[in-house]
């Protein structure tokens, strides 16, 4: 069940095979939801759940899915999952659903999910597909949370809404929040810095010319 291969499915996407920093997928939502830590975390969890479950569903059906309409089938599976999640949140976790608002619907268009279904679930059994989904969700989530941490901390001076900078008394000595950090382009720059850092640590990631 947790063979070396399966474990690698889990850890790979967190590090050397990260969907955001290596495959450069799912950047759009990484820009949109990372101005604050809280929505970033809920988004990371929702995406992880949707990838894992859709991966299992598609892997279980993989022998019956006609090749010619497989993309449509995958999309239908993802869309169904996302709508169900959205409806349940609205009924049972109204505050969370209010906070995430449109982003729940946007999970449908997250390229990482489609990518995993097409590249992995269509050719593997449900259990490895489930682990692969968790791994990729985690890899996506970690980057989201790191980016959101820096953006909220430097942009609004808070962590989880707690006014850290104010408590440290930095405003009284002339410190000001960096308004740039809360604008979407800074998310891209932070992702860029993470990619830079990761490649400088692990030279095997650098492509040969």
């Amino acid at each position: 069940m947790f063979s070396a291969r399966n474990l690698k499915l889990l850890t790979g996407p967190i590090g050397k095979d990260n969907p955001i920093t290596i495959q450069v997928l799912g950047i759009c939502s990484a820009l949109a939801v990372t101005a604050k830590l809280e929505p970033a975390i809920v988004m990371a969890l929702s995406v992880t759940m949707v990838i894992a479950v859709s991966n299992v569903v598609v892997a279980a059906m993989r022998k019956f899915i006609p090749d010619r309409i497989r993309i449509i089938v995958q999309l239908v599976v993802i869309a169904t999952m996302v709508i169900l999640v959205d409806q349940f949140l609205k009924a049972y976790a109204f505050d969370v659903s209010k906070q995430l608002s449109v982003f729940v619907g946007l999970i449908i268009t997250n390229c990482i999910i489609m990518g995993r279904l097409e590249a992995f679930a269509m050719a593997n059994k449900p259990w490895p597909a489930f682990i692969d989904g968790l791994g990729n969700g985690a890899g996506y989530g970690i980057i989201l949370i790191v980016v959101a941490f820096f953006r909220e901390f430097l942009g609004s001076g808070t962590i989880f809404g707690y006014p850290v900078m104010e408590k440290l008394g930095l405003y009284s000595i002339g410190y000001e929040n960096n308004g740039m950090m809360i604008l979407p382009p800074m998310a891209l720059i932070i992702v860029g810095l993470i990619i830079w850092y990761q490649r400088s640590k692990d030279k095997t990631l650098i492509e040969n010319k």
Partner: protein, 233 residues
Amino acid sequence: MKEFSNRYIFIFSSVMVIVVATLLSLAATLLQPRQLKNLELEKKKSMLESIGVPSTRETTENLYDKFINESFVLNSKGDVVDSVEAFGVVLRVEQRKPLEQQYMPVFKAASEKGDKLTILPVQGTGLWGPIFGYVSVESDMNTIYGVTFDHTGETPGLGAEINTTSFESMFPGKKLYEADKFVSIGVIKGGAKPDDVHGVDAISGGTITSKGLEKMLQDCIVKYDDYLLKNRN
């Protein structure tokens, strides 16, 4: 991968569509009562927030009955329309009608100290979608007692800041009128001057939402102009 016949593909997609449709309509129907209840509670909770009464899911209903003691609907001339129930009026629907046919709900409340307050709902457009809220005014029908705003899809950290305490807390004490002239509240980029009774600071990075909020306050509250002037004391 093995080749499937066209017949199989048609059957497969038909079955898939039927299964998915059943699943989704089932979920939507079963969850709808709870979702509607949530929306109703949310509305009551927002109204309570605008008069400075915090509530939780469990306490909303009771507190609403305790603090909000009267509600009625006005027509565009400022007269009370008896046939319509205020809580059921949806501003979004009203705003699509011609002005003469619009209904404008008013909620009367008492603050914890016993001040008589008037709660006016507002509805407008932000960057990505609707923004809405409640503005409560003191018995002089001029000074803002409290506000609460919300949105459906503004960007977290930017436009979505309109529903934070730090933004909403700038409103109490501001004035809607300059003598008898309605001037509303401006949302000022770069920051309102400290002595400006008609302005609050805009949100950095949320310019379009801020502008939308300013327009919402102007457009919605001006409709109550006659009523507010008549009921001053």
